[in-house]
């Protein structure tokens, strides 16, 4: 994994020396390339508890350009193609929060090595980061583009799955997605929410984030100094 991150760092240096976020994300090919890079960087950062190799402004620029293109192009494509396009944009917007998660994770590791006021400041910063992530997930989940993608239908028991012979029976009531490809967004949002709620080490320091009030501002301030706009 560390070797993989060396390659990611190399790719990040190439990106920064040869192009910039606006140029890269202005073409379809560039956006796909950046998406591919982001997936690998996210994987490395979460597993190694380290920070990303590219500044977060690159993700924000990708997000901004996608929004601009969506405004012009969404109305020009067929319904089937539109749904796939929206899915791609929403999924990318979902994954855009991962660098902030990786930043928080790497900060948790630092708690072991800090004391006194410095530790209190780190905990306060962590708390605001985690709340920011939860807000981001919640606002995305409730956005008009995302809602239809993650809509589910309850399906009654009994239910026979494709894995009935090799796996235990479903231990929960089965469900279906009204737009099946959107299921991946649903589980990504759940996973991010869970990932933020689970850092029990923070509970050792008396930090709880459940039930925090959701801010109503259109623009939210990333505790790492970046600003994002809702989808």
């Amino acid at each position: 994994m560390v070797k993989c991150f060396r390659h990611v760092s190399g790719a990040a240096q190439l990106f920064q020396s040869r192009t910039n976020a606006t140029n890269l994300c202005s073409s379809l090919l560039g956006r796909h390339l950046f998406k591919w890079y982001s997936l690998i960087e996210d994987e490395c950062c979460l597993l190694l508890s380290c920070r990303g190799a590219l500044p977060q402004s690159w993700r924000q620029e990708d997000f901004r350009i996608r929004k601009v293109i969506a405004t012009c192009e969404y109305s020009r494509v067929s319904k089937d193609r539109l749904q796939l396009w929206i899915l791609d944009d929403v999924l990318q917007a979902t994954l855009d929060i991962i660098p902030t998660m990786a930043y928080a994770l790497s900060t948790i590791s630092e708690l072991n090595h800090t004391r006194g006021v410095k530790r209190a400041e780190t905990i306060a910063h962590l708390e605001s980061s985690l709340i920011y992530i939860l807000d981001y997930v919640e606002s995305l989940r409730n956005s008009p583009l995302c809602k239809p993608l993650i809509q589910t239908l309850e399906v009654g028991f009994p239910w026979k799955t494709r894995h009935s012979t090799c796996c235990p029976e479903l231990p929960f009531p089965p469900l279906r997605f009204t737009y099946p490809p959107g299921g991946v967004v649903f589980i990504c949002l759940q996973a991010i929410q869970l990932y933020v709620h689970v850092p029990h080490p923070l509970k050792h320091y008396g930090l709880t984030i459940l039930g925090h009030p959701l801010p109503t501002n259109e623009n939210r301030r990333d505790p790492n100094g970046e600003t994002r706009t809702r989808m």
């Binding site: 994994m1 560390v2 991150f5 060396r6 760092s9 190399g10 990040a12 994987e43 597993l47 190694l48 508890s49 380290c50 920070r51 990303g52 190799a53 994770l105 790497s106 900060t107 948790i108 590791s109 630092e110 708690l111 072991n112 589910t152 799955t161 494709r162 894995h163 090799c166 796996c167 235990p168 479903l170 231990p171 929960f172 009531p173 089965p174 469900l175 279906r176 997605f177 099946p180 299921g183 991946v184 649903f186 589980i187 990504c188 759940q190 996973a191 929410q193 869970l194 990932y195 709620h197 689970v198 850092p199 029990h200 080490p201 509970k203 050792h204 709880t208 459940l210």
Partner: protein
């Protein structure tokens, strides 16, 4: 204490819903393994707070992924091994072991440190590699 209990229940609820979502995807795209692979990372997060009654089901899903992409599953074996108190999972994997009764522990800062110090144990082919991770900055990994 009451709030902590409520949070644990809430975590389990999210994990429960995540698994339900994955089961729906698996049922529709069960034949398309590449699609399922894209769901692997989100599903692996469910292992952090899985209700006891879902663990057997989850274990079998991880065993399937282990057949498909063992390298991907290795970090999950580490986390689940620590959280569920099954250290032998790291070396033996989901396929060889049977799910055991809940021995879940609470994640501590040391666990996260330990997870960041990635140790790839010797594989069956006999290769081994040990890696130390520094202060979390990407500078540590530059050539």
């Amino acid at each position: 204490m009451e709030r902590l209990e409520r949070e644990c229940e809430f975590d389990e609820y999210i994990a429960h819903e995540l698994c339900r979502g994955y089961a729906a995807i698996e049922d529709l795209y069960g034949g398309d393994l590449t699609y399922l692979l894209s769901c692997f990372r989100p599903l692996s997060v469910a292992g952090f707070a899985l209700p006891h009654q879902l663990r057997d089901w989850y274990w079998h899903k991880m065993a399937h992924f282990e057949q498909l992409a063992p390298t991907y599953v290795e970090p999950v074996r580490k986390y689940v091994g620590v959280l569920w108190g099954i250290p032998e999972l790291l070396t033996q994997g989901f396929e060889k072991l049977l799910p055991k009764e809940n021995r879940a522990t609470t994640l501590t800062p040391d666990d996260i440190d330990a997870a960041a110090t990635v140790i790839l144990v010797a594989s069956e082919s006999g290769t081994s590699e040990e890696i130390e991770v520094g202060d979390g900055s990407c500078e540590d990994y530059k050539e």
